[in-house]
């Protein structure tokens, strides 16, 4: 697979006039797994949404580049076709569009007209991925996310990741609301694509738990809309054991959340 580099530089992001991200700089290369950790309300999910192009977030300063191309100039769909993927925390429910049709449209969006994936090949790939993730085959024929449990939605996001094979993926709290068995299944899916495609990944999470199964190369701690500390996977372990207080003390931070105007 081609090599991908996502460069986030001094990123400032606002929502409805409130600045949430206050200068985030981070580079992710193919094959690298970065975990961004931190308590609630510190801007982690905003980072994920801003990279993908969520319509409610405004970039006020800084840049995002994918292989040198200006991501901020791209529409959401162009970003996806360029190689970005976001497994969302709250994916939309879409009545009347089956998971299967949605996936096929997504795959075909990456292919030229006249070169669409054959139905047979698609079904084969999908059945394989469904089995990989222990997902009931019925899900493919159900309307996208409609009536799905929290766990089913997360698995569906990973199903899409497996089938779309992006260059750089962001997993936004993919572990929240999952029991340990489901978590292992999700981790298995992520690790599989990591091995097969050399995926670069940004994992956003509150908890060390997921990182026991998907091992990060780098761990970053986010507070007050900035990355305040970076380290190797051992940082996640000490966060799990000692919490965030010691970092706050070390850096003289009283309230780690992003203050709201």
């Amino acid at each position: 697979m081609a090599d991908f580099t996502l460069e986030i530089e001094d990123l400032h992001v606002s929502i409805e006039g409130n600045e949430i991200l206050k200068g985030v700089t981070l580079t992710i290369n193919s094959g690298e797994f970065h975990a961004v950790m931190g308590p609630n309300g510190t801007g982690k999910s905003t980072l994920a949404s801003a990279v993908m192009g969520h319509p409610k977030f405004e970039i006020t300063q800084g840049s995002i580049k994918l292989n040198g191309e200006d991501v901020l100039e791209m529409e959401v769909d162009e970003r996806a076709r360029a190689g970005l993927f976001l497994a969302m925390q709250y994916p939309s429910e879409i009545t009347g569009v089956t998971t299967s049709d949605f996936l096929r449209s997504s795959i075909n969006a990456r292919r030229d007209e006249g070169d669409e994936i054959s139905l047979m090949k698609f079904i084969k790939e999908m059945d394989g991925s469904l089995a990989e993730l222990n997902i009931d085959e019925n899900m493919a024929q159900r309307y996208l996310n409609e009536g799905f449990s929290g766990g089913e939605k997360k698995r569906n996001e990973i199903l899409q990741l497996l089938m779309l094979k992006p260059g750089i993926s962001i997993l936004d709290e993919i572990d929240s609301g999952l029991d340990i068995d489901a978590l292992k299944v999700v981790a298995k899916g992520v690790n599989k694509i990591r091995e097969e495609t050399g995926l670069g990944c940004l994992i956003i999470t509150h908890y060390q738990r997921l990182l026991n199964y998907v091992e990060p190369d780098y761990v970053h701690v986010m507070m007050q809309g900035r990355i305040v500390k970076s380290g190797g996977k051992e940082l996640a372990v000490s966060l799990e054991e000692d919490g965030y207080e010691w970092i706050k003390e070390e850096l003289g931070i009283e309230d780690e959340t992003v203050e709201q105007a």
Partner: protein, 434 residues
């Protein structure tokens, strides 16, 4: 000012017309009574739509007979998308005359009738008389039902005897090839006790400019323990002003389901009314439309609960583009004594243009204590979060909108009983939203 003036048709005209068609005397009488009513009654007043300036009078009533179609392997291109060549049970009216008619022999032997209305009047006059504008639709309801009764110029009669189950769909195509010809079309579907059938009809015309009129009345009778599934795709062109009234009477333990793809391009008033007369009778009326251009449409879907334990779920869905207007009225009426009736309804409009207008009016009229009822109505735009989600997988905004629209209409489209008709409706939707 009102454009409804005295009609160029009188008692002499309708009597002559009746004679030309060798109709039974009762039919001639009905026509002459009705032409008198038509001159005196007022137009109907659909809620929130003014129709007094619409064209209900400028049309041609007769046309030369349409050319016969000798085989389904060789149908005119205009009809290609509607026809499953394997279908043995089909009647095609071309300019209101029979161009093609076929019915499976086994069904014929069992007493099933699928024939055009004039043949039915000649060959099964007494049977038709029982149902023709008697218990369901009355000629004296308003000017348009009276005009219909006076000027009826085509239609079909479908009859399934007691205990006969028709498993293959019965299909009709009403093709208004003559751009000026009016469709005063009358459809009667009778399912006798413990019988079952699926009926699907198509209306087709090509007159984008020439004014014409469609005044259509459909009467469906699901007798005790019968099961009727009624599907339709209407696609009359912009020149046609349409009044279409589809009404059903449902007996004890009987079911009448409707799946109506109402894709007309011109002004349309559509009424779909189901009378749940029998105990434990039920109905699922579904309707779907896509408005475009400057057309105004008014859709009323009504369930009338008379019997005990009657159950209905109305579903209306519309997508509005351009400067089109649509009014959705969903009415559940539960009469005194209809104990344990359940009247549910859902009306949803998706607005694709800032200049389109839409209104959904949920109405529940309840005269009984021990009932359940519910309604949901919404008028909205395509959800930005849904678009964002789909685009985040690489799907373009255009394609994402297309998928969302098809998905929005799918619960109705998917209920259409013939695969070719389902595809045809999907294509029509595609054409209208792109």
């Amino acid at each position: 000012m009102t454009t409804v003036t005295k009609l160029p048709y009188d008692e002499t005209y309708v009597t002559e017309f009746s004679k030309e068609n060798n109709e039974p005397a009762w039919m001639t009488e009905l026509r002459t009574e009705a032409i008198d009513l038509a001159n005196n009654l007022e137009l109907p007043t659909p809620d929130k739509t003014k129709i007094h300036r619409w064209n209900f009078t400028d049309f041609k009533h007769k046309s030369a007979a349409g050319e016969a179609i000798t085989s389904l392997d060789n149908v005119p291109e205009a009809l290609n998308d509607f026809i499953d060549k394997e279908n043995e049970n089909i009647v095609i009216l071309r300019n209101q005359s029979v161009a093609y008619a076929s019915l499976n022999n086994e069904l014929k032997e069992k007493g099933v009738i699928l024939t055009d209305i004039f043949t039915a009047l000649r060959e099964h006059g007494d049977l038709v008389k029982q149902y023709y504008m008697t218990d369901a639709v009355g000629k004296d309801e308003h000017k348009l039902t009276a005009l219909h009764a006076a000027l009826m110029n085509g239609g079909v009669f479908v009859y399934v005897p007691k205990n006969v189950e028709v498993t293959e769909p019965l299909q009709t195509i009403f093709w208004q090839e003559d751009n000026e010809l009016a469709l005063f079309n009358h459809v009667i579907v009778v399912a006798e006790e413990s019988s079952s059938l699926t009926y699907v009809e198509n209306y087709v015309s090509h007159n984008e400019e020439e004014p014409s009129v469609a005044n259509i009345i459909t009467e469906v009778f699901a007798k005790d323990n019968a099961k009727v599934s009624f599907g339709a795709v209407d696609h009359l062109e912009a020149g046609v002003t349409t009044y279409i009234n589809r009404r059903g009477m449902v007996g004890n333990d009987a079911t009448l389901d409707w799946a109506l793809g109402q894709m007309n391009e011109g002004h349309t008033v559509s009424e779909n009314e189901t009378h749940l007369v029998g105990n434990n009778s039920s109905s699922t009326p579904r309707t779907v439309t896509v408005g475009r251009g400057k057309q105004t449409q008014n859709f009323t879907t009504k369930t009338m609960h008379y019997g005990l334990d009657t159950d209905a779920m109305i579903s209306q869905r519309g997508v509005m583009t351009g400067r089109s207007t649509a009014i959705f009225n969903a009415i559940g009426k539960i009469f005194n004594g209809a104990t344990r009736a359940n009247a549910e309804q859902e009306s949803r409009l998706l607005m694709l243009s800032g200049k389109a207008r839409g209104d959904a009016n949920p109405i529940l009229l309840i005269d009984e204590d021990d009932v359940t009822a519910g309604h949901a109505a919404s008028v909205g735009r395509v959800d930005e979060m849904q678009l964002y989600y789909m685009m985040s997988r690489g799907i373009t905004r255009e394609e994402a909108e297309r998928l969302i629209i098809h998905g929005f209409l799918d619960p109705v489209v998917n209920e259409l009983p013939i695969e070719t008709i389902k595809n045809q409706l999907t294509q029509l939707i595609e054409g209208k939203i792109s």
